[in-house]
């Protein structure tokens, strides 16, 4: 008796969920169209890429574009530059954001309130306003058009400091108080007790920084004198601006350029999405 009731109740329920799911999957695939198109095009032979009428699915597959991209443009250089830029910014940012955030959350020092107010104000400043003075300054000390020049101004930012401060404020004080009573130095408390506890926050912030800088266009575009010195988004954009576009080649390069961030995201998707939900709500 009980089983027939659940059966009659759950069956239309399941059909309902299935129908909704089919609608959802169609929606999801439609949204993924540019990415699907990019991947399919990358594997199509050139004749199929430019065929009319265009067709979504490839008729035959080739790896030719993936082999050619390395010679058509300095693709390995672009890749290396992007790894150094995004990786360098991420590592330095995590270091400086967490130290500054900790100082603002836990230490007492003169001018602390002034520093905090300045950081709140900087949170509201669009970074484009700082482009011209930064470019000018880096140019006058010979760093314009170099990777260090690209990295240095990004080594810490208001958002990262604020994010870490909020996290440290949420930690209980007991542990550090106990360590302080035992005579541990502030540096020791920060590096041995606090930082291990902050791993989830650092991971989330790290992905934010990495993804943002890996994907960024405007800053690397300004800070690279030529394609050789650019990151993937900036270098590929310059390339497209100067040459007749071979879409097969461009899509193969694009697939390779997007891959690290997409894989990184799929691996730690849960904490990344949770990070957005919580920082969004403040």
């Amino acid at each position: 008796m009980a089983s027939t009731i659940t059966a009659t109740r759950s069956r239309p329920d399941f059909v309902h969920r299935l129908l909704l799911g089919v609608g959802g999957i169609v929606l999801g695939l439609a949204i993924l169209l540019p990415i699907i198109w990019m991947v399919f095009t990358a594997f199509k032979p050139e004749a199929d890429v430019v065929q009319y009428p265009p067709a979504l699915f490839p008729r035959s597959l080739t790896l030719q574009h993936f082999a050619d991209i390395w010679d058509a443009i300095p693709f390995a250089r672009l890749y290396g530059n992007t790894i150094v830029f995004a990786g360098g910014v991420t590592i330095f940012s995590l270091l400086f954001d967490s130290m500054t955030g900790y100082a603002l959350a836990r230490l007492e020092f003169r001018g602390k309130n002034v520093v905090f107010v300045l950081i709140m104000i900087l949170l509201m400043v669009p970074f484009q306003v700082t482009l011209i003075p930064l470019y000018d300054l880096l140019g006058s000390i010979g760093l314009a058009g170099t990777l260090p020049g690209m990295i240095v101004p990004r080594m810490t930012n208001a958002f990262g400091i604020f994010f870490m401060r909020q996290f440290y404020l949420s930690l209980p004080r007991d542990l550090e108080e106990a360590a302080r009573v035992d005579g541990a130095s502030e540096w020791r408390i920060f590096s041995r007790i606090i930082t291990p506890l902050a791993r989830p926050a650092l991971l989330t912030l790290g992905l934010f920084h990495f993804q943002y800088n890996w994907n960024d266009l405007l800053w690397p575009l300004i800070m690279s004198k030529d394609i050789e010195g650019a990151t993937l988004p900036a270098g590929l954009s310059m390339f497209v601006g100067q040459h007749v576009v071979e879409y097969g080649l461009l899509m193969a390069g694009s697939v390779l350029a997007l891959m690290p961030v997409v894989i990184f995201f799929l691996v730690i998707q849960k904490s990344f999405v949770a990070g957005i939900a919580t920082t969004g709500m403040k």
């Binding site: 669009p126 306003v129 011209i132 694009s254």
Partner: protein, 267 residues
């Protein structure tokens, strides 16, 4: 970190091209700016972009969130798919969009042609259609991000409220109107301001897909700052233009800050 801001303010009162030293010109740049048709054009394009893209993105994000808050087959896949555009590089995915919207061999151009929407000059080369095209890409890119924020809000609404409403025989629309919408008001406020701030700073897909053209029909404020500051090398005037952006973004941010501070007090 504050220095670039101060320096930018200083430069906006000078004439400077990096070859000769900066020359103080007082408010001259700002006088020129007010009379500059290119500035008004860029400001207008930015305003149109923001006013169209912000509400569409926010409402779509809400609709997707409500849809994906129900149990369904393959829900994780759908959520990830909608969020994915936010993860990938806007510049790089814009190459794929340019190809999809290509006048001759673009797949979307072709599909739209099949259902009767034929463009004379192609999406990105028609001054009438280039703006809608970059708007579409803008909505596509960020809707998943705001959807995630809405999903967090939806999950904080107690399900008892909906059950009680259902017992009272409330329709789906009135449940949305009287429970979901008011309880998500804060989320909507936050998401709308964030989206407005982001749209005012639009650059990447426009740079890749149209370079601000055709005939400056998609040149936004940041595109103009880039052109004036880094292509014409008018660093003083470019700084002045960037302060227009500064005032817009800063104003909206203050609004956001004030709104949430007020709320914190009333708790």
């Amino acid at each position: 970190m504050v220095w670039p801001l101060v320096q930018s303010a200083y430069l906006s009162f000078t004439e400077y091209n990096r070859i000769q030293a900066a020359r103080w010109v007082g408010v001259h740049n700002y006088v020129e700016l007010v009379q500059d048709e290119q500035v008004w054009n860029a400001l207008g394009n930015t305003a149109v972009y923001a006013v169209v893209v912000t509400p569409i993105t926010v409402l779509l994000a809400l609709a997707f969130a409500i849809f994906l808050n129900r149990p369904m087959v393959g829900r994780e896949f759908v959520r990830t798919a909608i969020f994915m555009p936010f993860i990938v590089s806007m510049a790089i995915i814009s190459f794929a969009w340019s190809f999809l919207l290509d006048a001759n061999i673009g797949l979307v151009t072709y599909w739209l042609g099949q259902v009767g929407f034929v463009t004379e000059q192609g999406w990105l080369t028609d001054p009438q259609l280039a703006m809608p095209a970059v708007m579409l890409v803008g909505v596509w890119k960020s809707v998943g991000f705001y959807m995630v924020m809405y999903l967090a809000g939806l999950q904080s609404i107690p399900t008892e409220l909906y059950e009680a409403a259902r017992v009272d025989g409330a329709s789906a629309w009135s449940r949305f109107r009287h429970i979901t919408w008011p309880l998500l008001a804060n989320q909507t406020m936050l998401v709308s301001i964030m989206a407005a701030i982001a749209t005012i700073q639009v650059f990447d897909q426009i740079y890749v897909m149209t370079r601000g053209g055709p005939f400056f029909s998609t040149e936004t404020l940041v595109m103009l700052i880039y052109r004036v500051g880094f292509q014409d090398l008018r660093l003083g005037y470019g700084s002045a233009v960037s302060w227009v952006l500064m005032i817009l973004v800063f104003g909206l941010s203050m609004l956001q800050f004030g709104y949430f501070r007020k709320r914190a007090v009333t708790y």
